[in-house]
Structure formats: C-alpha cells, structure tokens
Symmetry: C2
C-alpha cells in the first residue's frame, strides 16, 4: 500500500503519522510545496511579535525526524501541479523539474490561501500575509528594522493576534475591519469588550469600513480607507480571510462546493481512492447541519487521523464528527472564546432559540482576584438544547467555553448544565459555577419562571412600558435609562403601589447591573400580577450591546463610577 | 405554606432562596445554631493564612440582607434540639430558652461536624478544627500572636489548604496523615506530586501514621506520633474527617445509613414533609451507584434548589442527579483535581476497567510557558465509557478536569473525547488538547492498537520480560531500570535483531519518558511479531508511582538531569 499525502501540516501530517502507527509496511509519502512540514502555523503572529523568539521554534518536526521516528518519506519543495485519478498519479514540480508520484491512496490536505482583495497597491512589498514561516520572517525583519506603524487589514482571529503582539512590541497599530465589529464570528456584545481591550493596549480600531487603496511611498505606504482616512504604514498585515487552495484538484474532477472539496463523513472525496481533510474541505456544522469549510486546527488533525483509519481499516473507522466550531483568542489581558452556533447561524438555519446573558465571577467574589466573565448562551426554545456559547473576560473564559463545547457535543440541555459537577475550590470557581448559573437561569427562562427582555427591544420597551431599575440609588446615579423608575430591589415589596401607579396598566421591564437582582424583582412583580420581564445581562450587557451609543443614552447624575464591579458577589 | 430550613449555609440557603423565588406567599424560616448564615466555609483556610484578610469577607449574606432581598426569616443562634414529625414541630434552643417552631415542609441541612479522635490531649486549647468562622478566627489570632510551628492532623483537602496557607504565612508546618499518601481520594501517583510540592514550599509530610497523643505544655504542645516522633506545635489543626450532624433527627425516627440521612432522588427523607440536603445525607455516586455522604458544596447547592422545587412544584421537579464527585485543591503553585471514580471505587464496585497515564503540555510546547499536566483516566473495559480522571500540574489542570467531569456526566466514551472541539490558540491548549490525546490513547488501548503495562507489574516485568527503554542515550543515562536495553525509538526499525537477541523469546516491555515514543515503538514491535507492551505514562509515571523507591531502583550513569521536561513537545 502506497499512501501519498499532499500537504505536510495539520490534517495531512496527522494522517501520515496515524497511518504509520497502523501499518509498518505501508509506503507513506508526504509532499509539501514549502520548505517545511509539521510546523506551527498558529504560532506565526507570536513569532512576528517576538513572544516566540526564533522561527525554528515553530518547526515541530523536520523531514529527518519524521523519517527516523515514523519512517515517513517527506518531500519538501514538491508542488503538486497535476492529478490523474484514473492513473492514480500526481504530477509534481520540484527544484529538479517535473516528476510524477503514483499512489494507492491519496490524502489531500492542501489547506487554504490568503484572500488578496484587488486593491491598488496590494502588491506593495510592505503588505504581508501571515500564512507561512517565510511570511512571518519577512514581517519580523521589517519590524526588527524599525517599522513603527502597522495597519492590520481584517480583525479576525489571526488579524487580532497580529495586532496585539505588534502593539506589545511597541508598534502603533490600527486594525481595519469591514464588518461592524471586530472578530465577526463573535456576537457584537462580546466583541465590544475585545475592542475596548484593543483600545486599552493602544490599538486603534476602525470597523464598518475597508481599505480602498494602498499608496506606495519611498519611506512608507499609506493605507487609504473607504471614508478617505489616510493611515501611514511601515507594514501592512493582510488578514481578510482565506480560501481553499484546491484549483489543481478541482481541475482533476474532484467535486467541490464554492471551492472547498466535498467529503463524506469518512473524509472520502467524490473520487475513488482520494480522501481530503483540513481547511480545504467542507465540514458539517454540529448545531445547524450547514456545510462549509472550517479553518480550525483541532478538527483538521482529528479528520486526518480518521482518514488514515478509513484507508487502513476500511469498514471499522469511526466517522469524522460534525464540527462544533470552538475558538479562542487572547487580546491583551482578555480572552474571548466561542463555541457552537451564533445568532446569525441560528437565524440562517431557521432555528427557534433563546439567548441569555450573565456576568458571573470566574471564582467566588470573596476570594481575592475575582474577574467577571461576560457570558452568553443560545439554547433551543422548547427543549433547551444548548446551541452555542460565547464569553470574554480576564480569567476562566477558556475553561467555561471548553465545558460548554463538551456540553454542545453531548447534546446537553440547559438543565443538564445545572447538574454538572465542576471542580470547586475558592481559587478556581464557585459552588455554583458560571456554567451551572447559566443553566439555572436558562432553565428558568425555558419553564417561564424567568421572563427576559433584550437590549434590541430597548426602543419599544422605552415607548410602551415602565422601565424599572432595581439597582441601588448610587448605582442608578452613575447612569440610567431616561424615564426609568428607580426602586432598589430590597425595597420593592414595600413599594409595589408606586410601581402600579407609575406603570398605570403598562407592562414593567426591569433591569439591574447584571440580571441577578432584576430576576428576583421580576419574580416579585409577576407574582403580584404585573406583566414583567428582566433585562438579560442587565446594564453590563446593555452597555456592551449599545457600545458608544450607550454613553449618549444614559443619564448620569453622580460622579462617574464604574458599574463593572457591581455584580461579582 | 410554611417552610422551615434547618441550617443556613450551602444546600439549606439554596433551598430558601429558590423557595422564595418560586413563591412570594410562603413563610420561609431559616434556623441556624451559629451566629452566621450563608457564609463561605470553603474560605476558612484562606482566612487563617491571611489571603482573605478579614473574617467579614466570608459573610456572603446577613440575616438583614436576606430579609430585604428575599423576605427570609433568618434566625441565628437557634439550635434545633428536637423534632416531632407527627406534630410537624421543632424544638429550638435560643438565647432566651426553649422555643418551638411549626412547619408544613421541613428541609434539613445540618451539615457535618469534625471528627475528634479520642487522643490524650485532643481537647488542648491549641488544637483547632476548621468548621466555623469562630474556629478560623481563634486559629488566626493564635498565629497573629506569633505561633511559629503548626501540626496539621489529616491531609485531606481542607488539611492541605490549611497547610499551604500556613506555610505561605511563614509557619513551620508538618502534615500528618494516617493513609499511605496525602489526599487519600487521589490516586497515589497523583498525590506524590502534591507531596513533592508541599515539600518544595517547606511543609514536612508524614504519611502512613497517626498521632498517638498531644502533650500539653506551658509554652507549646507536643504532638506524639505513632512511631514516637515528637512534634512541638504552637497550633494543631485537626482535620481528619467529618461526620453527619444528624443525632437529633435520627432520634426523631428519620432513617439514616451510618449516620447519614437517607433521601430519595428528590431529597425526601423517610418521613413525610421532611427533605434533607448537603453533607448530612447519602448521595448516589454517578459512576458506581454506591450511596455515601459527599461533602461537596456544588451538589449541596444543587440539591437545595431541587428540594425547593419538589416542595413548591410537586410532581414537576427534576430529580437530584447522582454525584460525579469533582474536587480540586491548590497546593503551592500546583493544582490537583479529580472527577469520577478512583481505582479503589471501581475495584470495590467490581467494575472491569483500564487505566491510562499521560503527561501532555497544558498548551503547545513551542509557546512560552508550557507546563506539564500529569493526567490519568479510568475507562470501562469493553465499551470505553469514561469512569474517572485525575490530574496535577501548574496550569490548565482544573480546565481539563472540568471537561472530563462534563464527559463523565454525559456518559461519554474515550472515543467521544477525541471528538471534543476544545478551544485552541497557542496560549490556551493544543490542536490535540490533553483531553483529546487521552481519548486517542485510550481508544488505542480499547481496540488493541496500543497495549500497555503498568508500574505495579514492574516486578514480574523485570523477572519475565526484556525491558526496552527507547529514550535517547542521554535520557537513559540519567536513570534507568537495571537490566533494561536502550535503543532510541528512532533506531528501533534498524536494530530489531538486537531486540530479538536480547528478548530470546521473552516478551518485550517498552518504556520512554511519558509513553509517546514507547507507543510508537510498541507498534513497530507488535507488527514485527513481538509480544510487546508500552509503559502507561512512562518514566514520569514510574517515578511518581514508586516515589522514593524509584531513586533506589534506577541506575544513573550520567550527571543528574531532570527527565521532567522531556515530553512537553
């Protein structure tokens, strides 16, 4: 059996290593067009910023080591330029000219390449993508040589990793993003806190517009934005997305969908004897069932392993699971992470869902160092199956998202989240962990014990209802919705007649700082006969969801004090 | 409806708060014999050590705040001394004498009290338990007054929390534990690393023996151990276990099992109108089905909430789930955590299981700051259902145990662990997260791709097989099993005839530093026809499992160098 693998990182190398462990007798050839295989592409931004000092540290394996440990025949600088599926033969361009490589089984792991928008000046030498070690090295050299101003085009995960490491390196960094907020896969109220952190570490954020051209100068380039803003740039990092690198295989007749290779649940392509994995293939979304390419290292590695199983143990290999799609990014001192579906995913898939926000401490408030986790979850209306979750904060975020990712994979409901026995000691969590709390509140929403309203209903709420703010007088004074009535939750039972008078038959919409006290108030009101509801996530979510417009809306009648710390307790 | 709750912390207070949120009209009375309710018992060691400066910070709620927010009638210094279930009446001792309190529904949350072994001198004023704020305050006062030497009797979770905070405070601390290792609920090879960390932070650890007496002196006490060791002590912290505080209720005819109140899966006792929750009740273990009291805050809080549901929404309350039993402790810079069943639990329950050890980095090795996680999992033979997991290390431990606790709750198999999409970016994990790696290796064990041997087979392995050490020559020289053959894994394929000659028909048992390279070697050997197996967890597990005896066994032929760092890659 001769197994040939095209692309020697991620899923391709996982397939090669697994194939060897399963079969000592197989001939296993790995072809890669670059100089390196099995290198850490996720580390590129950190090498640019200097956190990873030497590019060599990113070379997890070398062809020599792979030969010695796994008897792999790794051929770098081998660019596959043709495929004949009938003959089971690849045409390969090498330093010595054109060669052919035959196979019994072929695994395609060609990955994706950077999208290069057709802008004037995009080919300037100062414009760098971040897809290879060479890319990182040349960008790093420019910075080492004194580049002081960077413009990052695209505020996705890699763009922001580059931005934060460049800012840490002391560069003056501007991030430009066409979407309305940074990290478009995140919900806007989560992304707002990432933007705030970017600004705190000195990065300028421009969203909702793109670059229109790049003017090349002798001393520096100038990135011209759609609104005419001119940003001088010693380096430009281009990170506006990727697309599957599949032209050669498409031409050979392998079925694709919008450029991505179509595979079944064993990674098999439309063509006999050919499997494909990684960023270049379509994946099925575990929550919505939508098929699309997913550029995540974990699923690629897993699929590579399962493809080797399918080649060498046909009939007994487990299927490649649908993708839950979990992601995390460090920005300054913040961590932002997401798993499962977003609002937009769920709306596009016509799933009827509810959303809940909360802001628990990452551990008990009475132990020093508690940090708020700003969390939100989506769950299916009716049965409460967890559909997605996002969180941002300074500590404990990745842990909660990993637990929730596990719950999504298991098909758990929000009630199941209540029942999770999570590790508690004061430095680590709480007897009611943030995940448990999310389950409790969402279960209350599901069974009607808690009725919530959302920031996007603010206009109609202000028009048609009494807005009741149950925070303390001091908190109320720091900033509140115009026209809202303030009755601290501890006084509510004695002052229900004031609510009756102010509401005069209209519904009552309650809010507090984070949603905890307004939930209690809602229970008091609803049992007293009011049409009431509690604001999901309270003022903390309102400020994040409204962003800059919150400052215009809210009336402050006291010396400013942050409301941020009020709900860690 | 008048609901009376005995015990105003944990499960009791959760029941009270939930009851109010469900029913504004209920009369809710909380009785507690102490001065405080709703205080943070888990914080006591940290107040003693000074990390939590003021005892007041542990008072999460006060009777006044609970009255204002939740209309609870909280009565402290109310000690329940009698119960008449027929009359639905409690007898209560207060500062003003004896009183009675009637109820419609009664929730018992009496908790547990410290076990006081019948030792001479146990009643010395220098002997402190850590069950109440008063306990913590008096111990703290003694330390503030200059106590310099502490003996901690009992190395369970609370004992070790006390030991590490006292050591951080500068005291000379000795921990004495009757079991063969600290943290008896942890497996011995995990606990060994906790012991090493205790010693690193200056704590003296004595295991496998107890105190025989405490001699009271004018200036200090002396703890005399079973082997005659005399430990001078300015303070003694007594932390050898707890037992349910249920005498009053047992006497009233409520069914108990070894002192713990027996409840059904809605928290109902044997007596009509009486529920019970928390440390004083029996819980069902989610993995083994065994019933026993579990002193964990999370399950207690959850049960309290569900009991309120059962009282106020009879027929529609969800059952109290069985307990997975997740726990975590910080010791110095280490975190140790466990979830699910241990070897001893599984053996006692006659479950046929396999165990696997691994030592992955908490994040990718090429990103600065990677720390090893020393992990082990137990899974059911045959179907691979995850039964338990433990881990210890400097970072990322609580996250992996929480993910694995979620997997245990979901009934996941080890193959399911492979499929978990966990959040990966270089500062947080790896494309193959430690949890994924555990799933991969365990799946290989389950389907026979990987065959492992364990340290407890070392004697027979040394007697009956060829021990093949596939580490590098330099690693081998730092310490190896006498009589073992060293062939680096990269040379194995070319040197198989040497293995044949050395084995001369006997089986081959392979090992490396952590189990990764020996797994590859095992595949080479088994496909070449050898009866081979790979040591679970490699030398890292061997050293931890053998403890001090490893130093006697292993032969070193080179200047000492730690093997600890060799498998983060």
């Amino acid at each position: 059996m001769k197994i040939v693998i095209v692309g020697g990182v991620g899923g391709g190398m996982s397939a090669a290593a697994r194939a060897r462990r399963l079969d000592e007798s197989a001939e296993i050839v790995v072809l890669d067009r670059s100089e390196h295989v099995s290198w850490a592409s996720c580390g590129l931004p950190y090498h640019v910023g200097g956190e990873i000092a030497e590019a060599d540290e990113l070379l997890v394996q070398t062809p020599e080591k792979l030969r010695a440990a796994l008897d792999l025949d790794v051929r770098t600088r081998h660019d596959v330029v043709g495929l004949d599926p009938e003959a089971r033969r690849l045409t390969v361009l090498t330093d010595d000219g054109t060669d052919t490589v035959d196979y019994d089984a072929l695994v395609l792991s060609p990955g994706a390449k950077a999208v290069r928008p057709p802008l004037d000046g995009i080919d300037s030498a100062r414009v760098h993508t971040l897809r290879s070690i060479g890319d990182a090295t040349s960008l790093r050299e420019r910075i080492d040589a004194g580049a002081g101003r960077a413009v990052v085009l695209g505020a996705g995960f890699i763009g922001l990793e580059a931005a934060e490491t460049l800012a840490a390196r002391g560069l003056d960094v501007t991030v430009v993003e066409l979407s309305s907020h940074v990290l478009p896969p995140l919900e806007h109220e989560v992304a707002w806190r990432v933007t705030a952190e970017l600004e705190r570490i000195g990065v300028t954020v421009r969203t909702g517009l793109g670059a229109s051209s790049i003017e090349q100068g002798a001393d520096h380039d100038t990135v011209v934005l759609a609104d005419g803003t001119r940003l001088p740039a010693d380096v430009v990092v281009l990170s506006v997305g990727v697309r599957p690198d599949t032209a050669v295989f498409e031409k050979a007749g392998i079925a694709t969908e919008r450029g991505a290779i179509v595979v079944d649940d064993h990674g098999r392509t439309s063509t006999d004897g050919i499997w494909a994995v990684g960023d270049a293939v379509t994946s099925t979304d575990a929550v919505t069932g939508v098929r699309r390419p997913v550029a995540l290292a974990g699923p690629a590695n897993r699929a590579g392993r399962l493809v080797a199983d399918d080649i060498l143990r046909p009939g007994s290999a487990r299927p490649v699971p649908p993708t839950v799609g979990t992601a995390v990014v460090r920005v300054g001192e913040m961590t932002a992470a997401a798993t499962g579906a977003t609002r937009a995913d769920l709306r596009a898939a016509d799933v009827y869902f509810q959303t809940l926000h909360l802001h628990p401490g990452h551990h008990v408030g009475w132990f020093p160092g508690a940090e708020q986790i700003h969390m939100m979850i989506h769950f299916r209306a009716g049965d409460g199956v967890l559909l997605g979750a996002q969180a941002v904060g300074r500590a404990g975020v990745d842990k909660r998202i990993d637990v929730l990712a596990t719950a999504v994979r298991a098909g758990m409901t929000v009630a199941d989240l209540i029942d999770l026995d999570l590790a508690y000691a004061p430095p680590y969590g709480a007897a009611k962990d943030p995940v448990n709390l999310a389950g409790m509140a969402a279960s209350n929403v599901l069974d009607g014990t808690l009725r919530i309203w959302h920031v996007d209903q603010l206009e109609e709420v202000r028009r048609d209802t009494l807005v009741l703010d149950v925070r303390s007088r001091d908190e109320f004074a720091t900033g509140h919705i115009p026209g809202s009535l303030n009755i601290p939750h501890t006084e509510l039972r004695e002052r229900l007649d004031e609510v009756t008078a102010a509401a005069s038959g209209h519904p009552v919409r309650v809010l507090c700082a984070s949603g905890v006290r307004s939930n209690i108030a809602h229970r008091v009101l609803s049992q007293a006969g009011f049409d009431s509801a509690s604001l999901s996530g309270g003022m903390l979510t309102l400020r994040a969801a409204l962003g800059a417009t919150a400052d215009d809306l809210l009336i402050s009648t006291a010396p400013a004090a942050s409301t941020e710390s009020s709900s860690v307790a």
